[in-house]
């Protein structure tokens, strides 16, 4: 079973450069991230954003895929419930990922590693704050290879 690679020890915490994949809905959270930009708010470069039309476009498959491929944290950001550009999309996001987040926790994945946040287009501050906090908590957890695909080689 050559694929079940032994975990590569990551020598020290200083070298730990987490990768956080953020799925942002086009209308609120992506715009919120834009506002964080126009307001020149700082957040870590570890956060990398993928634009989706609505948070309800994000499939659990994508979340697991990100973890498999080396993401240390995954965050889905959407409009506040009630504010969805498509009126109801994020209500479904909320149900789906309430169950999914519970399921992930149930199989032993830290809550900190997978988050959902409601960030409006006006909340550039919140965007930066959430991202900073997420990185902090991932840093605190330290490196982990949970759900990771041992075969995937990150080039960095």
């Amino acid at each position: 079973m050559s694929l079940k690679l032994e975990e590569k020890a990551i020598s020290s915490k200083q070298q730990f450069e987490p990768l956080i994949v953020a799925f942002c809905c086009n209308w609120c959270s992506y715009a919120g991230a834009d506002l964080a930009g126009t307001s020149r708010l700082n957040y870590p470069a570890n956060i990398k954003i993928i634009k989706v039309p609505c948070s309800c476009r994000v499939s659990p498959n994508f979340v697991l895929r990100a973890f498999q491929r080396g993401a240390d944290g995954v965050i889905i950001a959407g409009c506040h419930p009630g504010d969805c550009h498509y009126s109801t999309g994020n209500y479904f996001t909320r149900r789906r990922f309430t169950l999914f987040a519970n399921l992930l926790e149930y199989v032993g994945i830290e809550r900190e590693k997978f988050k959902i946040e409601w960030i409006s287009a006006a909340e550039g501050n919140k965007f930066a704050t959430v991202m900073n906090e997420m990185l902090d908590s991932i840093n605190k957890l330290g490196p982990s290879r949970k759900l990771r695909d041992g075969r995937w080689i990150r080039q960095q």
Partner: protein, 327 residues
Amino acid sequence: MDKTTVRMQQIALQTLANGEVDVILGWKKGDEWYDSYPVVINDINETAELIWDAFCVNNLSKYLITELKKNLRIGVFLKGCDSLAFNQLVIDNRIDSERVVIFGLPCPGMIDPQKVKHAGLNKGLLKVERTGDKIVFITKEGVKEYIGRSFDYDKCLNCRCPNPVVSKYMLSDAVTRTDEEQYFPDVTEIEKMPLEARYDYWTKQFSKCIKCYACRNICPLCSCETCVFDNIAAGVSSKADADCEQQFFHIIRAYHVAGRCVDCGECSRVCPVGIPLEKLNRKIIKDINQLYGDYTADTDIAKSPPLGTYKVDDFDPFDGSKQGGKK
């Protein structure tokens, strides 16, 4: 002969003969004591071979999907849990209930041949008869009687629906259960484990998986024409024996039956390596019940499935009001 079996054969004969149905889905007995297997019959002469015993564990409702493509009207024997699956298949538009005649079978529980084997009762065993909680083992040497449910499948011990929730003809009296119902003790037990222990537990369980997909194929609700894991183009299928692939498959499998799982426990029963899959399904059921009201897929086909609906004031674990935000 068992009274219910007699009734079964009669009703099969009657409905086939009078044209109420074109084929019957039932069980026949093989050569061995544990071998009750699903059959599709359309010949009235075969109705005498149909049986009902404590090994008719297979849920026949899934066969309706393929058989309804070939036959106009089908009669099917359904136990309690099978009938829940039937309803869910109707909700999922997978079968046309109008063309199905259901013969309901209140079920006292099915016997696990492995438990019989572990008790050393399998040697020379010819037949096992069950009436309620009385189990009779007939061997070459003689007859042994047991009272109780110690040979029941684990899944049957947790049964919450021994009686069919839908049927046209009910073949026997309803089964009554006095067991005190416990609230997802198996799930709670895992929830209480420390996080790392949980991860190790599940990773170890998943790593046993040989990707035979028996759990999926036996599941009455995993009824996709082409499962996403069988569709290379979907990009999620991988047959590699890697931990992450197993985790992916099992998490997504559980998620795909979220809100639809009828907790029949068949996935765990058929798993050749003993992964407790029902504990994933039951975790989701427990959460749905707690968060979105008692939903057990289900008795009421008019009800919206939990992931197909929402409430504006649903529990929101992601409400970030505590954090950041506007000044």
